[in-house]
Amino acid sequence: MSVRIERRLEQPRWLGVAVPTGSIVLALLLTGAVLLLTGHDPVHAYHRLFNAAFVGKDALTQTIVSATPLAFTGLAAAAAFRMQLFNIGAEGQLYFGAIFAAAAGLYLHSWPSALLIAAMVVAGAFGGAAWAAIPGVLRAFCRTNEIITSLMLNYVAALILNYLIFDSLSYWRDTSTPEAKVFPQGKLLPDAANWPSWGIVHSGPGLVIPLGFGVAVLVAVGLWALYSRTRFGFEVQVLGDSWRAARYAGIRTRRKILAVMCLSGAIAGIGGASQDGDFRHLLDPRGLQQAGYGYAGIVIAALARYNPFAVVLISLLLGGLQNAGYALQGADFPSGLVGVMEGLILFCALGCELLRRYRVRVVRRAGPEPSVPATEPTS
């Protein structure tokens, strides 16, 4: 008897749903095992987690607040990964979006609210795209691997963000009061720069949807349309499937790399603008860096298999987890559980992805096996 892993010639549709669901269930079981091993009651912990994420008062609202930046960074990652362009710099691009959007919000304070918000979105997108253009240009013209450059630039962006607020008297820093000079923080944005939100459900736990989440859904629709309904999207898909085939077909790879990188950065940048306008109302380096939105976004994009709509759904799931993590912080709730769970969900999703692409068969030795050598190669 031996176990063989062979490629599926066709992938049944039901697997596309069954595999992610199965991997989440498996991850929940594994996390339960971790909890049991360390002397916690898994049922109790899950109950509290679920309540804090989806059921309790304002839980769903807070979940959407946590999910909004994740949706943006998830979409940013999905946009680039579709083309096998591994932009893992959404983190830094989000910071730059936040810096530019905050600058727009502060500088154009006399504009009417709607225009100002639009300006913040544009500024955020520009900031993110500009930061993403660095690894984009390097990849397109110097053939420099974008994975490491975009990763390194995240840290540079974070340090620039810290510099603007903590170690300089920049335009973004509040210097109006003596306390603000001792405890550095960002300048408060004008009221006109506060993005609106809409209460959908007023009774019971309540549900308020911030503008940023709406924008994220719009971006998801736009991204889907771009990738499945336009020539540009088709060419990106071809490049993603086979670089060489695309070159032979005369697709301009350099332009496409730059365009997709900037698109990805712009989406992450709008996420930064939404952080300024929707939630924080000032440039807040600590808050932006705390959650690791960019990295979680990559995870979400991978779980969603780069489908924009699935990205939004899964960002709600992980947003719920993160929100529950904050809500239950301290007390008797095991710290770090949320990270452990997120990690396990990912491991399971990555592992089970194999089942979608390959089939695992247990074969008897007796059968004819032309492609498998009889003995394992030795080193």
Partner: protein, 319 residues
Amino acid sequence: MNNGIVVVVAASGVLYGTPLLFAALGELLAERSGVLNLGVEGMMLVGAVMGFWTVQRVHGNSALVLTAAIFVAALAGAVIALIHAFLVVTLRANQIVSGLAVTIFAGAAGLSSYLGNDLNLADKPARHAFDNISPFGLEKLPLAGPILFGQPLLVYISWACVILIALYLSRTRPGLNVRAVGESPAAADAMGINVAGYRYAHTIVGGAFAGVGGACFSLSITPQWVDGLTQGAGWIAIALVIFAFWRPELCLVGAYFFGAFSALPFTLQARGVTIAPELFQALPYVATVVVLVIVSMGWTKRGLGAPAALGTPYVREEL
């Protein structure tokens, strides 16, 4: 305090560079076998917390306890690396996503924090920590003495590791095999090298090195446990491997440079010079990007050592 500022900065560069060096050596082993491991930060943190747990819980002779702690830290890092190896080698998962998943799973908001909290380790001073030792009174040497000697034991161990790994990769049969696996797994397979086995072994040993690197923080530099103790050292280690052109001896030089950059702002501050610390902290990352660009522009004759098959899974039937 009568040492010149250069000596102080260089000495702290060696001290702060040592965890980077251990982690970078581990990453180098994994990358040389073709496995990109972005989970170093998580492995370092788990190594740090488990090493610290050992010194708090095990009673006995200080030297024995610290030895045990280093082994536990290495084991913890190796176990986390095993997850990564299983996902990317056996299950052929995307190495970038898997590495990031490892960092999320084990990192500052994950398993390391969970363990630190559950084992009740936070905010307590270490019961045992590595003391500075000066072999044969070498510290008395002018200039080099205070920089290189009078450091904790782990610093000297890291030198031995650099030499051993450099010899391993250039002078031994398995070392040459690893390089073959990293450059061209198909050719290595045809030579009869067990590609999956080599990749597993080097990723796991790499994780053990990362765990020891993390333990440098919790047992030597700042002997305590707080969440996110390593503060991004794992990412600098990944940068360092590239900066060092995938060569162990250059890792040593680079680690001390990067260590000095991260220590420099504090040293300057203590002397009343205020320069934005971000400037120095950003240097390792910017330097790495510059090195990557130079490498990829092809100005140098060969690609300066990036393993050709880095980041790609190897499946025998699919080429």
